[in-house]
Symmetry: C2
Subunit: 504 residues, 2 copies
């Protein structure tokens, strides 16, 4: 009996017709069953007369399947297999949890700390090896990556694969995906999965010289369906409908974007996360729409994170708060210190940020597009932030004041369980109490140096009794903000962590 571990991929393949256009003409689906539960899974044509169905079981035990197809060779195929416990470190696909946060299917909190290598799967294979090696040594656990190659400044090289087959006339036939290209892409998705990294798969983007941007509406729909059929069974798949969808509205009007979402809902039986990313900061998609699972945004103005949470009521991932680098494009030239600062602000306001690196070099090997190696300083400090949050995360860090009233419009503070973290950024008070616990108790305080990546104990002192503040006839009572205060070193870019109880 075939066995497969829970949340790994079960796959079976069948021989069928190769004449005509099997991509368009052959309809294959499989029904996977455990007791009375049935899960419909679309199959796909992998070229050379081979058809496949892939399935990600989410429950251990005995499973069986049977196929339905519009050609006899593929219809009524059956099989069964045993699902064993998940392999070590496998927690299943990531879901939205606690409204503004994420968790794996087994309930383990997932903190998205993503980076961006838009076209890494279209670079020479030796570069792709480097990208995976680099990812393995970072703390990034999500990678934004496009299916299509990229044509853009610093991105003028040829693509590794044609994503669609070329006809006898040398022109692309957008009714015939190139299985080699998709096999390579999904192998890299799988490789990321083995590293514990989510693949945030960008289905469309505007930066194209091959014609992928100009496929017909029907071809786009077939493409989305094909992607869903091939890739959904990989547990680490996230669907990112677009990088900068608003720059594509001239070829793909709004109703198509809604249909792409719906095709995913119809063909991805696991309900992987679905998002869509804007270009113009004022052109956010209406992320309240029910088919959007979380907010994906690009915006440098990260103190607005709370505003986006309130506007959309979903987890916020700001994937492009500008990139660490030094290129002439202003979105790709912030310092490491600034990107780390924006990460802390974003996360301590209840959102999540994304990384990218754009250092000019004579070979045009910029991480943000091609992967390879990291040259900057932000990634280590972002990894440190992830470590800090992982230590205490339970339900997700929620902003101390979701309405971001004073002082929470200026400094950033969040709480998860009995851990409070306040990031002061450009502020450098020598004492602090706002947002700290109001009840007496046994607390422990640490100063976190976000640049030097150190954690040092801090001194808890009595909360200061301020002189009253008058607003004309009104005396503004200045009760202590908290049960105590903490002394701070009086330099910028520090965070304060307060935990209930002493921990070893």
């Amino acid at each position: 009996m075939t066995t497969v571990a829970q949340w790994d991929v079960f796959e079976d393949s069948f021989e069928g017709p190769s004449s005509g256009n099997p991509f368009l003409e052959v309809k294959l689906e499989a029904f996977f069953q455990q007791n009375s539960r049935v899960v419909r899974v679309p199959g796909f044509y992998d070229g050379d007369g081979i058809f496949r169905v892939r399935f990600m079981p989410d429950n251990p035990g005995e499973w069986s399947f049977s196929t339905k197809a519009n050609v006899a060779d593929l219809d009524g195929k059956t099989g069964n297999f045993t699902v064993t416990a998940p392999r070590d470190g496998v927690h299943g696909p990531v879901r939205v949890a606690n409204k503004f946060h994420f968790a794996y299917a087994d309930g383990t909190p997932y903190l998205p700390f993503g980076t961006t290598c838009y076209a890494w799967t279209h670079q020479p294979l030796s570069e792709q090896v480097k990208t995976l090696e680099t990812m393995a040594k970072t703390r990034f656990n999500k990678l934004r990556m496009g299916v299509f190659p990229k044509d853009y400044p610093y991105n003028v090289n040829e693509a590794l694969h044609d994503v669609y087959q070329k006809g006898a006339d040398g022109q692309y036939d957008f009714d015939r995906p190139n299985p080699e290209s998709f096999r390579h892409f999904e192998n890299q998705v799988k490789a990321l999965g083995e590293l514990g990294i989510e693949a945030d798969i960008i289905m469309f983007h505007p930066y194209d010289r091959w014609g992928y941007c100009d496929m017909s509406e029907a071809q786009d729909y077939a493409y989305v369906e094909y992607l869903a059929a091939r890739l959904s069974a990989y547990r680490n798949v996230w669907w990112s409908l677009a990088n900068e969808y608003d720059f594509l509205l001239n070829t793909k009007p709004m109703h198509q974007w809604e249909r792409y979402f719906h095709i995913l809902e119809e063909n991805d039986p696991y309900g992987h996360l679905r998002s869509i990313h804007n270009g113009d900061p004022e052109a956010n998609y209406d992320h309240r729409k029910p088919w959007v699972t979380h907010v994906c945004i690009q915006n440098w103005d990260v103190k607005r994170t709370g505003e986006w949470r309130l506007a959309y009521g979903k987890p916020v991932i700001n994937d492009e708060p500008e990139y660490e680098g030094n290129i002439i494009q202003v979105w790709g030239s912030i310092s490491a210190e600034e990107l780390v600062h924006r990460y802390w602000i974003t996360t301590m306001r209840g959102g999540y940020a994304g990384h990218g690196e754009t250092f000019a070099n004579s070979d045009d090997l910029l991480w943000w597009a091609k992967g390879g190696e990291l040259h900057g300083e932000a990634w280590k400090r972002i990894g440190f932030l992830r470590d800090v949050m992982q230590e205490d995360v339970q339900n997700g860090f929620e902003p101390i004041d979701p309405t971001t009233r004073y002082p929470w419009n200026r400094v950033s503070g969040a709480r998860d369980g009995d851990t409070t973290i306040i990031y002061f950024g450009e502020h450098q008070p020598v004492i602090w109490s706002a947002g700290l616990p109001k009840d007496d108790g046994d607390y422990h305080a640490d100063i976190i140096d976000t640049r030097n990546m150190t954690v040092e104990p801090a001194k808890i002192v009595a909360a200061p009794e301020n002189h009253p503040t008058r607003h004309g006839a009104t005396i503004v009572q200045r009760k202590p903000d908290a049960a105590f205060a903490v002394e701070l070193p009086g330099r910028p870019h520090l965070a304060l962590r307060v935990r209930a109880g002493k921990r070893v």
Copy 2:
């Protein structure tokens, strides 16, 4: 014949009644005349039976005056005097110039680089001497200062003077100003004037334990009239109706604020600058009202400077973009680097910023309230910025893109005459061209290090021809942004200055 220099103060005094309440009951005004021109000037009671009129002549030559009063002793007094050319360094009062900027009456550009010592005139005299000494060694040319003392955290000491006289019952009589207090205040205004420093006089503020906040509407109006009569003749007077007027609305409703403005218009014959300062960042006064000469604002979010220019169509002074310091109040705890950064952003977006310093110390001697000595690092770098701007100012630095579209929402750039300055802040490109001159010519470029206060020549190179950017079906033409580009060192907090022609 008495002589007085243009824009200095001519004063005459007369004996009159001291019985009853001369502050309220005696009406005195003088009409100053040169040829057919007549300027009405209100007089004031200075105690001990002495009444005064003060006049700031704005034109050299022969002047005469005659008085009108409702008591015979003061009515029909006359005199004449000669006005000579202004003393060296005296340029007259500051006016709005070129819509968003300022100039002295003689046309010399005035760049407001102000700081804040709210209650310095109410500190011990030895501290006040220190304040003036400190001001003299800085490049600040404006000081925000209140008439009334302050009751607030770090401000619990007694006031130097009662601003109003106390009656036999030991209670303040808010119908009787204390001339000694006003004499002291105006002497300090004059002392600042001799240092070339404008006095931004705050008439009302909410932080009061003496009862000045709770004077009646009629008493407030008499107070404004008294201030105008005593102080208008000092050329360096600016009228700031309030610090944080919105925190005073519970005792002083909106119609009173408008009347204060009108009383100034009626009693200040020189039309000194008039502004009003908010507390809550969302409670800006409607600065479009015609009696407001310029926008006075407090807001930490300085990248919004262009928005305020567009909203109000007047010069924007952001007097409180938070203060350099380390106190527990979040508005008083930013680093020197951050305040300098906010200054550069503000000025390179066509606004002006204000300084304050709030370092905790055991004697509660915080510059922002009490003056004394500066302890921080921002003031020198702010002085350096002023020097940089003074070198090239003609009509005032105007933003390269007043609508602050990309990239001017992220970096800040301004131009005055043939000088362009671009402040990159957290950005660190190694090459730049956007916003530089589009015409070929002879240009010189410098890198300005805003932290180290250095200016070094920069290399002009050919503008890069970027690979075209596609937005779906649309090719976004990437013509070079300018006639040339400049190489930069690739580190943050730099500015680029480009001037036409070589200068020695």
